[in-house]
């Protein structure tokens, strides 16, 4: 431990804005990569030509940019369909029940694939990259899986909640996330009542969402679960409902406060803990900067967050302006998540997102199946994205993106469970899918396509925003030199080779 005076002095010196002479093309690229999903040189230049404040505002004040993405057409409550299912389940024969369930599963699977495509498209082509990046953060944070929720409408709704409150107020987001139908199912709050309070949500809201272990007691969990009773789900109309008859009106003591507390009190009490600000700001720093903050930095981050009323937008403005965010060990030292890898690649290559089935298969193969995180803790991230097989898969998927061929996916990549069935039909559908590939005329000038030196420089600038090591650059030259004259196929292979380096896997 450092002496207190020293600690305070360190904290006070932190989060100063980056000086204007350090703002550059490289720093603009860093901002765009982390606050969004990266982009082609023209996008980076646009940011670099603004001053730093304006550049951050261009990403963060996204309400000023219209986003007219239409909702999926099934994204609405559907009591009629659910009533029919209920009737069959109550009165139907075994065959009818089975048929109805199969039809329902098929429909849900189809919608879930559509939903993935809908969101990926927003990340790849939507006008508000930072908003979508925050939706991705909140999805990983609240880590709700369609495998248990089994209703695409709920998953979409939760995704929209994250979008609506992406940079909003923490207490409101935490409360709304708790009352969100997908969450009510995911952590069993929908089954809780005063006779049998279910502790799942009460536990995880403190352990995983807002405080972290060691900042509450088992007693708080039990009392919190009692207070949360009454938060329930109207399964027919597909929305949150408060059911007073399920609520425990007795006296509870939760995180030091006593009374007939309810769920809103629980959320307010949690967010009021000083630890709450430390916890969520540390997690956000890790998401954007790629490593957990030191104690001093965390104190400074939490201070900014609380001083701004637990609102994320002003907090993020300070974060993206800070010197610390542009430090040498932060820039280009974060392992790309599979989503960042895929979306970033199509943005940098200015090509189309692969058809949804292909994107879905790639992301599953690379370890980030959207709407199906591995568990309540979400994705571990960082170096755990990289294993020998996910790395080779990235290298091979790069070939598919660049050349416009199908990636080496197998039925297993689409199976619902390990060793399970379900992949064969998808494989058939895949055979009809067409990939786009990279259009070289769009991303390279005639000069770049004719001169090896210019080409190698241009590719590094576009894909890495920094240089490869000398020996790697030599290897790339060696490849091009083995060709007598540069044709498009060779240039595409060179692009794939740059993407098949350790350096391309970080951002």
């Amino acid at each position: 431990m450092k002496p207190v005076g020293e600690f305070i002095r360190l904290v006070k010196c932190m989060l100063k804005p980056l000086s204007s002479d350090h703002w550059s093309y490289e720093m603009a690229a860093h901002l765009l990569n982390r606050a969004g999903f990266g982009g082609p040189p023209s996008d980076v230049e646009k940011l670099a030509n603004l001053n730093h404040d304006q550049a951050v505002a261009a990403l963060l004040d996204y309400e000023l940019i219209p986003d007219e993405t239409p909702d999926p057409d099934w994204a609405r409550p559907d009591p009629e369909r659910l009533q029919k299912l209920r009737d069959i389940n109550q009165h139907g024969t075994a065959e009818e029940k089975k048929a109805a369930q199969q039809a329902e599963n098929k429909l849900q699977n189809l919608w879930m694939v559509e939903l993935r495509g809908w969101w990926l498209q927003r990340m790849a082509r939507g006008p508000r990259p930072l908003q979508e990046k925050m939706v991705l953060f909140w999805h990983g944070h609240f880590a709700t899986s369609a495998e248990k929720v089994r209703e695409a409408y709920y998953m979409w709704r939760q995704n929209e909640l994250f979008r609506r409150l992406a940079t909003g107020n923490w207490e409101q987001l935490l409360g709304d996330a708790g009352k969100d139908p997908a969450m009510l199912i995911w952590l069993d709050q929908a089954q809780s009542n005063k006779q049998h309070p279910n502790e799942n949500f009460a536990r995880e809201v403190m352990e995983l969402f807002a405080l972290g272990e060691g900042h509450y007691t088992e007693h708080d969990i039990g009392e919190g679960a009692r207070a949360l009773t009454g938060w329930s789900l109207d399964r027919l109309n597909q929305k949150y409902v408060y059911r007073p008859q399920l609520h425990d009106h007795g006296e509870k003591t939760f995180l030091g406060r006593t009374g007939d507390l309810d769920g809103d009190d629980v959320i307010a009490r949690i967010v009021a803990q000083p630890q709450a600000a430390r916890f969520i700001t540390a997690k956000l720093w890790n998401f954007f900067a790629g490593q957990y903050p030191t104690d001093e930095l965390n104190t400074a981050l939490a201070g900014v967050f609380r001083a701004n009323g637990n609102n994320f937008k002003p907090f993020l403005r300070v974060l993206f302006r800070s010197e610390e965010f542009y430090a040498a060990d932060i820039v280009r030292n974060q392992v790309k998540s599979p989503v960042q890898w895929l979306i970033g690649s199509v943005r940098m290559l200015e090509c189309d997102l692969p058809p949804t089935l292909v994107s879905y298969g790639m992301l599953r193969q690379l370890g980030q199946d959207l709407f199906a995180p591995p568990n309540v803790k979400g994705w571990d991230g960082g170096i755990t994205w990289i294993t020998t097989n996910t790395l080779l898969a990235r290298y091979n998927d790069a070939e598919a993106l660049v050349q416009g061929t199908l990636p080496p996916l197998t039925a297993n990549d689409f199976a619902k469970k390990p060793g399970g069935a379900g992949g064969d039909k998808v494989m058939k559908a895949l055979q009809r899918v067409r990939m786009g590939g990279v259009n070289l005329e769009k991303i390279l000038t005639p000069e770049e396509r004719n001169s090896k030196d210019t080409l190698v420089a241009s590719l590094q600038h576009r894909l890495l925003q920094s240089a490869l090591r000398g020996d790697q650059e030599q290897a790339l030259h060696g490849f091009l030199d083995s060709k007598t004259r540069l044709n498009d196929a060779d240039i595409l292979t060179a692009i794939r080779l740059v993407m098949s380096t350790p350096e391309y896997q970080v951002t």
């Binding site: 960082g382 091979n396 199976a415 390990p418 290897a475 790339l476 098949s500």
Partner: protein, 448 residues
């Protein structure tokens, strides 16, 4: 000759000695280069420390979907069983009798043969406290070995890799399939997975592309190395840890790129190894043409080819038999028994049977009473099977009572916590302490 180490040896050496342990990618490049100049004899000894070619091997076989244990190891002489299952209960003629009270499902001839040969143990009534009936959650509990109200980030095999296999070859854990099971999740990711060895490689038309890929994924080659001084010799007992190697040398912060570079080397090497073995080794038994059969066939080749793997993971799906269970389970259990038997035959022919242990599990058993659709719903405890040369063959533990007053919400109660089984396998078979891996001490059972 001592200074002329082949490229292959150099890579292996770097991987296992310097770049293998948890902190490995923090090693400065110049130090790594120094080590390339060390003697090849040292390199060879270093590669053998963690995973030697004679080490024991565990094959984990997941029966996904929740296998109905009652119709697998059938208590055919129990009236409670037949009362609860008027339609799908199996009579004495349909089972392979074991002890006059219970018997294997009739499709499991392969298991009966293994049982009679003293190679198969049945651990009866395995489960855990406060059972969860969700596939998703219960699978997670088995994979992470957590209590049912605790969420664990890492898998039990991942924690084994973290605690016992630092510095090991990446192929220390191999999953046949396309996704790593949660059991493999680890602080330092380890283990490879592939379904088809042909896909586990950098795909290209070879030639200049392949060559350039290899060069782009090399460690930095830089200036001549400084003379080896004190602290530069690998500690032969530890396999050479960073701290001992780098004693007295300035450490740089580890970068993400360094970590990925190491993984890229691992990927190149293991992909070559795996494809080489798959093409070279011949199976010496006839397997069913099922997915499980193919998986075990591949595992057998990899074992025969000497891959330094401690854990193989294979799975078989389809056990979620809510409707018309009889036909489905007949097919699956037949496949399970035949595939396993073929695998054992193959191992015996290879002479590797003494090194191999197979352990099955399923996320839960099923309800005692059949449902209206000729099937069974999600339940709790079920048997596990352990196959090997040195198992305490026979029926272990007590068969859970089916008397209605002994059931909990229609399910049999477990007699053995699955973590006691894991503890036995970890301690008696993999020869490692189980408490750090399972979170606390579970008493090992006399299984192996």
């Amino acid at each position: 000759m001592k200074n002329e180490i082949t490229l292959q040896t150099r890579r292996e050496f770097l991987r296992t000695t310097v770049l293998g342990s948890a902190l490995s990618w923090t090693v400065p490049a110049f130090l790594a280069n120094t080590l390339t100049a060390l003697q090849s004899e040292a390199a060879d000894s270093a590669t053998q420390i963690v995973t030697g070619k004679d080490a024991t091997i565990l094959v984990v076989l997941q029966m996904a979907g929740g296998n109905d244990g009652l119709n697998t190891v059938v208590p055919y002489a129990d009236d409670f069983y037949h009362n609860a299952r008027p339609k799908i209960g199996l009579s004495a003629q349909l089972v392979l009798n074991l002890n006059g009270a219970v018997g294997f499902h009739g499709a499991m001839k392969g298991f009966k043969e293994l049982y009679d040969a003293g190679n198969l143990a049945v651990v009866q009534g395995v489960g855990y406290p406060n059972p969860n009936r969700s596939h998703f959650r219960s699978t997670e509990i088995w994979q992470t070995a957590s209590d049912s109200d605790q969420i664990e980030k890492y898998g039990w095999l991942g924690r084994y890799f973290d605690s016992a296999c630092s510095g090991a070859d990446p192929t220390v854990g191999v999953t046949i399939g396309n996704q790593l099971p949660e059991a493999f999740f680890a602080r330092t990711p380890k283990g490879v997975c592939f379904n088809n060895p042909q896909n586990y490689r950098f795909m290209s038309n070879g030639g200049a592309t392949e060559e350039s890929y290899k060069k782009l994924n090399e460690l930095e080659m830089s200036s001549p190395t400084p003379d080896g001084g004190p602290g530069m010799t690998p500690d032969e007992n530890s396999g050479g840890t960073i701290s001992s190697l780098a004693a007295g040398m300035p450490m740089q912060g580890g970068s993400a790129v360094d970590f990925i570079t190491r993984t890229a080397l691992d990927a190149q090497m293991s992909s070559d190894q795996v494809r080489n073995i798959a093409a070279r080794v011949q199976n010496q038994a006839v397997y069913p043409g099922s997915q499980l059969g193919n998986s075990l066939k591949l595992v057998a080749k990899l074992i025969g080819g000497g891959l330094p793997t401690r854990i193989y993971y294979v799975s078989q799906g389809g056990y979620d038999t809510h409707t018309n269970q009889l036909g489905t389970q007949q097919r699956l259990l037949g496949d399970l028994a035949d595939s396993t038997k073929a695998f054992v035959d193959d191992m015996k022919a290879q002479g590797n049977m003494p090194r191999v242990l197979v352990m099955t599990f399923s996320e839960f058993g099923r309800r005692v009473s059949e449902n209206a659709n000729g099937g069974t719903d999600h339940g709790a405890a079920a048997p596990m099977f352990i196959v090997g040369n040195k198992v305490k063959a026979g029926l272990l533990g007590k068969y859970p009572s089916l008397a209605p007053q002994d059931l909990y919400q229609g399910d049999i109660k477990y007699n053995v916590d699955f973590r006691n089984v894991y503890a036995s396998v970890l301690e008696s078979w993999l020869k490692t302490k189980s408490a750090p891996i399972l979170g606390r001490q579970f008493e090992p059972l006399p299984i192996v």
